[in-house]
Symmetry: C2
Subunit: 195 residues, 2 copies
DNA sequence: GTCTATATCATGATAGAC
DNA sequence: GTCTATCATGATATAGAC
């Protein structure tokens, strides 16, 4: 049963993949539904049938990728115990993800969702980011991280890494992100560590 | 030579102010030239006369704000000596600027210029950011900052502050940025300090 | 230099056959 | 569910009077 449908991939994912590629390459507004239709090899009518309108397509993409990110955080919290190890693992995984799936990362934390998803909250207050702040708060309660405003702590702990990711996505970093992992993490942890 | 034109503000600045406001509020693509015309109280024809096309208007905005940022850095470098003092002063000034001129800050480091200014390099490789990296490199040469990749150092030193600024622009920080200055700066400097 | 009116065109979205 | 053909809207940009 698994290998039977090789002839044609599922229409929805075909469209979502094309949309992700075009939205991140050219931007949401510079991409027409006809462009997506051509790239995906799916008719305009089918796209509207599945997603309602262009914004619905963007929303589907957003929720899909957000869910994937939450899943990643869950996995890390199951595997690691201390805030230190969890945070380091998260940065590691994000760096790898940026290299293997740059469009997904770009859409998650670089796209201006406010402009085309007006009802969606800003990324930083989305659920994955809330989960990350909780992780940091527990670290303060456990004495691993210095006492300070929770928002400040999580921003300072991950700010450098996130900027490295956007720099890489912009093409201004010569080497793959994992190359810089040790140096970046040393800085990040020094910023907030209790000791 | 200088016509005392106090009666009516210069058309160019009238248009640039309106464009900045609308671009940052609604986004570049959601803003039509007619919107700008209405908000500025200047006809569409005049706008095209002065800026050529919509993209030319965005470019004028971009270069104006970039120049202002360079001027700020110059001023700081004249006033302060050590990398520590310069970096701290820069963060201080950026925090204040975010409160007093949020649109200008949003346009500088939050807008996706790539989408509407395809020929412009990404913000992080623009001249202000290059100047900041030089500042950090000198700090390493002087022994104030630990030896590491220059890009990593400047990203980790300013990454947290920049994320705080974008968080504030997104409206998810309850207090004005200067409230958080001491905590943020302590983290930032610990991240890269030599001692 | 500034204005109004208009030309041109691409886009989001729909209709309706299969 | 998928497709082609088409509509309606609103955008950028221009023409030409003042």
């Amino acid at each position: 049963m698994p290998e039977i449908a090789v002839q044609r991939e599922d229409t929805r994912t075909l469209v979502l993949d094309a949309a992700l590629k075009l939205f991140t390459d050219r931007g949401y507004f510079a991409t027409s539904v006809h462009d997506i239709s051509r790239t995906a090899g799916v008719s305009v009518g089918s796209i509207y049938h599945h997603f309602g309108d262009k914004e619905g397509l963007a929303r589907a993409l957003y929720t899909t990728l957000t869910a994937r990110m939450l899943q990643l955080i869950d996995e890390i919290e199951r595997q690691m115990d201390s805030s230190h190890d969890r945070a380091r693992e998260l940065v590691t995984r994000l760096f790898v993800l940026t290299e293997t799936q740059p469009q997904a990362m770009a859409f998650m934390l670089y796209a201006r969702h406010r402009e085309f998803l007006p009802d969606e909250p800003p990324v930083c207050s989305s659920r994955p980011f809330a989960r990350i702040r909780e992780m940091v708060s527990r670290g303060m309660a456990r004495g691993e991280i210095r006492q300070m405003d929770a928002m400040v702590a999580s921003t300072c702990l991950f700010g450098g890494s996130i900027r490295m990711i956007t720099a890489r996505l912009d093409g201004i970093l010569p080497h793959p992100l994992p190359t810089y992992l040790d140096e970046v993490w040393t800085c990040a942890w020094r910023a907030v560590a209790a000791s």
